[in-house]
Symmetry: C2
Subunit: 588 residues, 2 copies
Amino acid sequence: MYRAPLNQISQTLNQVAGLPELLKTELFSELSPDIIDAILQEAARFSETRITPLRTKGDQQGATLKNAEVTTTEGWKALYKDWTDGGWNALTGDTAYGGQGLPTLLSVAVAEMWNSGSLGFAIASTLTMGAVEALEHHASDALKNTYLEKLISGEWSGTMNLTEPQAGSDLGALRSRAERADDGSYRIFGQKIFITYGEHDLTDNIVHLVLARLPDAPAGTKGISLFLVPKYLVNEDGSLGARNDVFCAGLEEKLGLHASPTCTMIYGDGFGDTGEKGAVGYLIGEEHKGLACMFTMMNNARLLVGIQGVAVAEAAYQKARAYAAERRQGRSLNAAKGAGMSPIIEHPDVARMLLTMKGLTQASRSICYATAQALDMAKADHANGTFWANRASLLTPLAKAFSTDSGVDVASLGIQVHGGMGYIEETGAAQLLRDARILPIYEGTNGIQAIDLVMRKLPLENGGHIHGFLQELRDITEQAKASDTLKIIAPQLELALNTAEEATRFLQDCIVKGDNQTALCGATAYQRLLSLTVGALYLTKAGLHDDNSAALAAFFAQNTLQETAGLKQVVLDGAANLTYATKLLQDI
Amino acid sequence: MYRAPLNQISQTLNQVAGLPELLKTELFSELSPDIIDAILQEAARFSETRITPLRTKGDQQGATLKNAEVTTTEGWKALYKDWTDGGWNALTGDTAYGGQGLPTLLSVAVAEMWNSGSLGFAIASTLTMGAVEALEHHASDALKNTYLEKLISGEWSGTMNLTEPQAGSDLGALRSRAERADDGSYRIFGQKIFITYGEHDLTDNIVHLVLARLPDAPAGTKGISLFLVPKYLVNEDGSLGARNDVFCAGLEEKLGLHASPTCTMIYGDGFGDTGEKGAVGYLIGEEHKGLACMFTMMNNARLLVGIQGVAVAEAAYQKARAYAAERRQGRSLNAAKGAGMSPIIEHPDVARMLLTMKGLTQASRSICYATAQALDMAKADHANGTFWANRASLLTPLAKAFSTDSGVDVASLGIQVHGGMGYIEETGAAQLLRDARILPIYEGTNGIQAIDLVMRKLPLENGGHIHGFLQELRDITEQAKASDTLKIIAPQLELALNTAEEATRFLQDCIVKGDNQTALCGATAYQRLLSLTVGALYLTKAGLHDDNSAALAAFFAQNTLQETAGLKQVVLDGAANLTYATKLLQDI
C-alpha cells in the first residue's frame, strides 16, 4: 500500500521549489526545517495509517442519498473528525481566525499525501479551503466573523456552486437568480449540478458559495454575483438556526471518485424552515463582480487539482512498482544463465513504463510545488510581489493541466504494468484510473487551461515574464553542463528550451497580430510542450544535488521530453490544417 | 447512438486494403462488390438495431455465476441466437463444414461493426472463430467432423485456455497437466484463469481449447500440448452426452467488459458425470507441439483484438462528435457577431480532439484491414504465398498494439470532449474507456507485441521484408506529390519514412550484433513509430481518391504523425539511459 515519499517530497521542496528562500522571508521566519519535517512526517503517518486503508471501501460503498441527506462511506465521518482534530484543515488559514498561517507550499505537500491516500476523501477539504480563500479576500467582516473560524477548523465545510446544466465552461450562461431582501440579505433560486460534497454527513453545517444573477444584472459574465448560502442559518451566538432552503436532489453515478458525493443542488424550492421561499444568501464582494471573487478560489483550487494529479500518479507508481518487483514472468536478458523467471521489473519495457511514470510524477510534483511557492512569495516578498504573482499565474495552468494529464497517463500505465491483474478491480489499479479521469475535466478543463495560458499568461509583463522564466531555466542548463552526470543531456535540454522559445514567440506574435484563432489552435500542444520543458529542467535542478535525481532527469530528457519536437510543429503548422479539416466533422 | 460508418469501411476496403486485388484471385472469384455491399449493409443494420441497444444493459447487468453456471445479460441469449441464425458466425468458416468461406478481410469489417455495438457481446464469437481456425489447421478429421460444423454455425462456442495464475505472458510456466487414457483420449487437470466466456448460457455446449503438459513433457514452452475439452461429451450421433469434469469456479470483477464473463475454470476436480476424475480431452496436433497450434489461433485473435480497438474508437468518436455538435458553450471566434453560444465542435481545441480521434480510428482501421487482406492473399495468391504470409506477420503486432492503444486514447479523449458529462456513467462515454482498457493487455500485451515485432518480424526475409514494405509506402508519397490536396504533406511523410527506416536499420543492426537488450529497450517506441508512419501513408493512399480523406490525411500528418521525431530518438538514444536509470526502481 501507499508509503508517503517523504524523501522525494522533501527534495522537491528544498532543491526545486525554493522552500529555503521562503523561510528567509519575514512572514515565514518562525518556521524552521525541523518543524516542517515534523509536520510532513505526521501527515505521512496519518495518510498511511488512516486514509489509505479506507480508499477501497470509499470506492465500493460510495456515498448514498436518502431524503435529501447524504451518508458517506462507513468510517469516513470518524476519519474526517480525527483529521480536523489534528488541525490539518487549518494549516494555511488566517491566524486571526484560528488558522496556522503556514505556507501554501507546505499545504500542497501535505495535500499530496491526503490525496494519495484517497482522492475521494481529500477533495472535501480542497473545496473548504477554496471557500476560506474566497472569504478571506472578499467577504465582509461580519461574514468572516460568522463563518471563517469554523471553516478553517473544518467544523463546517465549504462548496463551490458554479455549474448549471447549460453553463459549464461558459459561466456567462448561468441562470440561477438572486433577489434582494429587505434586511440586506438575498434569496437564491435555481439549480446547480456537479457540486462536490454539496451534501454530506461529515459536518454540522455546509457553507455553499453560489454564483447567481440579480434581476438587474447585465448579461454574460459581468452580471454574476457570489453569495454565501449556509445549509443551516447561523444565529447571532454562533449556534445553528433554521434549515435553509437548499437541498440535494440527486447524486451522480460516476466513473470513479465514488466516495465523494457529486450533488445536484436545488435552491429556493420552498422546503426550508426559514418561513419563506428562497435560500437565504449573503453577498460576497460586490454585486455583479462575483466572478472575480470566484476566480480567487478557482486558482487555488486549480493548483490543488494539479496536486491531486501528482497524488494519484504517485499512488499508481508505487502500486505498479511493487507488483513488478514481485511478479515473475519470463527470464530477462540480464538474468544469470539457468535462473528461473525474473521479476518483470527487469524487463526493459516494464522498466520503461515505470520510469516514465516516475518521471511524469516527479515533473508534475515539481511544477505544482513551484506554483505554490510563487503564491507564497507573492505574499511574503513585498518588493517583488507582482513578479511572484505573475509567476504563480503563469504556472497555474501547467500545474493543473500537466499534472492531471500525468495522473491519468500514469494510472493507465499502472494498469498496463499489472497486465491482466490490472483489469481486475480487486487489485486497485483500475480505481486509480477511474478516480483520476475527472481531473483533466473539473476546475476548468485542460483545454480551458491552455486558452488561459496562451491568451492571458503569455502576455504578462508585455510578454516578458515567460521569457524571463525561460532564461532562468537556461541557467539550470548551464549548471548541468558542469555536472558529470547531467552534461550528457544538455543538448536535449537546450533543444527543448529553444523549441519552447520558438513556440512562445510564434504564439505571442499571433496574439499581437490579432490572429487569436491560430493561437487557440496551438494552445493545447503548447501547454504540453512548455510543461515538459519546465518539468525536465526542474528534474535537472534536483539532479544537480544527487545522483538518483540526475538519473531520473536523464531518463526524462532522453525519453519523455522527446515529445516536444513534434509538439512544436503542431503549434507552428497545425492551425491551418485544423481549420481546413473541421469540415470532416460535419458527418460521421 | 452508433451508426455503422459504411462509407469509411467501404473506402478502406477498396482504396486502402486491396479488396479489388483479392476479388481477382480465383479463390474469391465468385464474390462481387454487390454481394459485399449487401453483407456490409445487413451487418450494419443488425449491429445498429440489435446489438448497440443492449450495450448499456450488458454493462450494468453483466454476467452472474450461480452453482457453476453463468447467466448472461437479459436479452443476450436471444440476440446471440438471432445473430447465429443470420449466419454471421459462419462467415469465414470452411465450406466443407457449413462455413461460407468468405475472406477474412470481409469478416474483420463486419467484426468491427459487432464490436462497435458491444465489445462484451462480440468477443464471444471472436474466441469461437479462433477455435475454428485452430481446429481447421491442426485437428484430426474425427475432431473436425464432430466439432467444426457446430462451432462454425455458432451452435456451440469456443474458448482459449492459456493463462494460469503463475503463467501469463510466460506460457512456459504453465502447470496444468494431461494424462493419457487407454482409449487414446486424455484426462486434463488444473486451473485456468481469465477465460473469456469460459461458461455461459448462450450455447448448449462449450468447446475449450486447453494448454497442458503431459507427464513426460520437456520443461518450458516445448512441453506444452493443446487439447480440446468439451463442456459436454459428444455422442457418436452428435447428441450431447455426459457433463465433462470442467467447471467455472469464479467470475472476475473487472473494470469493464461486464457483459463478458471472465471465468476461472477448474479441470479435473471430479464433479463431472463421466464416471471418472479428470476432464476428458482430445489432442489437437502433436504432443508437446501445442503452442504452435495455439499461435495459429492467437494471430487471428490478435487481429480481431485490433479490430476491437478500431470498433471502440469509432463508437467513442461518434458519441463525442454528436455531443460536441449539440452542446453549446462560449462563442467561437468564427461565430457571427452577436450570435449566441456556439456548438463546442467549433472551438479549436474540441475540433482538434475530434480530428485526432478520427485520424487514429481511421489509421487503425486501415492497418487492421490491410493485415486481414494479407492473410487472405496468403491463401489466395499461391505464387506469392510466403510474401503475403510475411506481410500479415509483420502487420499483426501493429494491428493489435496500435489499434488497441488508439482505442484507449480515443475513448479517453471522448470523455474529455464530453466535459463533466463524460464522467457520468449514464452518458456512456466512460463505459467505452472501461471496456477498451483491457485491449492493450489481453492476447499478448502491447509490450509483448513490440518484442514480437522487433525480434521476429524485422528479421523476416533476412531483414528485407520490412524495407520492401517501406518502399511501397514511399511510392504512395510519390503519388501524393502529384496531388494538389496532398503535396503539402509530402515533406512530413518523407521525414516519417526516413525516420522509420533509420530506426529499423538501427534495431536490425542491434539484433545482428547480438545486442538484444538495446533492441528490446526501443521496441515499444519503434512499434508506435512504425504504426504512425504506416497509418499516415494509408490515410494518404485513401486521400488520393477523395478530398475528405485527403483532409484527414493532412491533419494526421501535420499533427499526430509529428510524434515520430521524438520516438526515433527514444529508439536510438533511450536504451543506455533506461538501463542506467533502472536502479531508481529499487525503492519508492
